[in-house]
């Protein structure tokens, strides 16, 4: 019998690799008079749910997907976070 494990994977351009999107955002900031904002980096986030026999097993699956599918290790780094199953992102609380 299996359980559901929810993860979010963040994929960001590696440090030291030029990020044109981040640059573009920074360039747009003055128009929104947001002058004190720096080091903008733009990446991807993938949320998913894994059916697995154990959390260990679920982690292995997510790590594999992150490395093989979601990120290109040449230029991107990634980070996997475990989320509570209830925490599917709804409309922002803000």
């Amino acid at each position: 019998m299996t359980d559901s494990y929810r993860f979010s994977v963040s994929i960001m351009p590696k440090e030291g690799i030029l990020d044109p999107q981040g640059r573009a955002v920074e360039a747009a900031l003055p128009q929104l008079d947001a002058v004190n904002v720096h080091y903008v980096r733009v990446g991807r986030r993938v949320d998913l749910e894994v059916e697995a026999g154990s959390e260990e097993e679920a982690w292995t699956m997510v790590d594999r997907l992150a490395q093989e599918l979601f990120a290109n290790p040449l230029i991107e780094s990634w980070q996997v976070d475990r989320q509570s199953v209830t925490a599917r992102m709804g409309p922002s609380e803000k």
């Binding site: 044109p20 999107q21 573009a24 599918l69 979601f70 290109n72 040449l74 230029i75």
Partner: protein, 228 residues
């Protein structure tokens, strides 16, 4: 001689590639991505398009299509593989070619007519190109900025793996490192380029320079046949 043109869900230059091969005197047939063989073809073209939508990262999903196993085997046996645009992206994602094709530095899809300098004319993909000719053909992509760590770029050039560079007057349209538009593997049997030779194979359409590349491919197969 037969060329297999792979059709991924979302490929949209597959029929154009077949047309290009036929103009060059070859014959081509479409091969659905779920196939695990190439139908006995002598060469493979991975065509342009948006395989699987290319939403995540161009070519990221396509590299896992069943047919890619057959493409890899074909390449390992020394068979010719040509990736055009999205096909180039798939080949880099599959690590059959070095490098990454990143988002254009313009952050826009770019459709432009560009000019290519042919860095080597002694390859299976370029031997038919007349000396001194720069090739005029269109690009049409959002993720075509070729990237490698600069040390690897030096090695790539040193190995003679850089086949095409964007040339004047139009120049580098997408921020590719060292204006690289196309590369091949060390063995010289797998090649990828972002511009579209198959769309530039008839004067009526604005240029037939691309036909030199299609011819090179088709004639290479003919030679291989004779040799075999």
């Amino acid at each position: 001689m037969k060329v297999a043109v792979v059709v991924f869900p979302g490929s949209n230059c597959d029929r154009d590639a077949v047309h290009g091969v036929e103009l060059a005197g070859g014959s081509a047939e479409l091969v659905w991505h779920e196939r695990t063989d190439l139908g006995g073809a002598d060469a493979v073209i991975l065509p342009g398009g948006f395989a699987h939508g290319d939403y995540l990262r161009s070519g990221a999903i396509a590299r896992f299509s069943p047919v890619m196993g057959a493409v890899r085997d074909h390449a390992e046996r020394g068979g010719l593989v040509l990736g055009i645009c999205n096909g180039f992206q798939v080949l880099t994602e599959a690590r059959l070619l070095p490098g990454v094709l990143r988002r254009n530095t313009t952050l826009r899809f770019e459709h432009r007519w560009v000019r290519l300098s042919v860095e080597r004319r002694d390859t299976a993909f370029t031997h038919a190109v007349p000396d001194g000719l720069t090739l005029r053909m269109p690009i049409a992509h959002g993720e075509g900025a070729y990237w490698l760590p600069s040390a690897d770029l030096d090695a790539l050039a040193a190995n003679g793996q850089v086949l095409f560079r964007y040339a004047a007057p139009e120049g580098n349209p997408n921020g590719s490192e060292r204006a690289i538009a196309g590369v091949m593997n060390e063995r010289g049997n797998v090649c990828g380029l972002m511009p579209h030779p198959e769309r530039a194979s008839e004067a009526l359409l604005g240029s037939d320079d691309g036909l030199w590349l299609m011819r090179s491919l088709v004639e290479s197969l003919a030679r291989a046949r004779v040799a075999a």
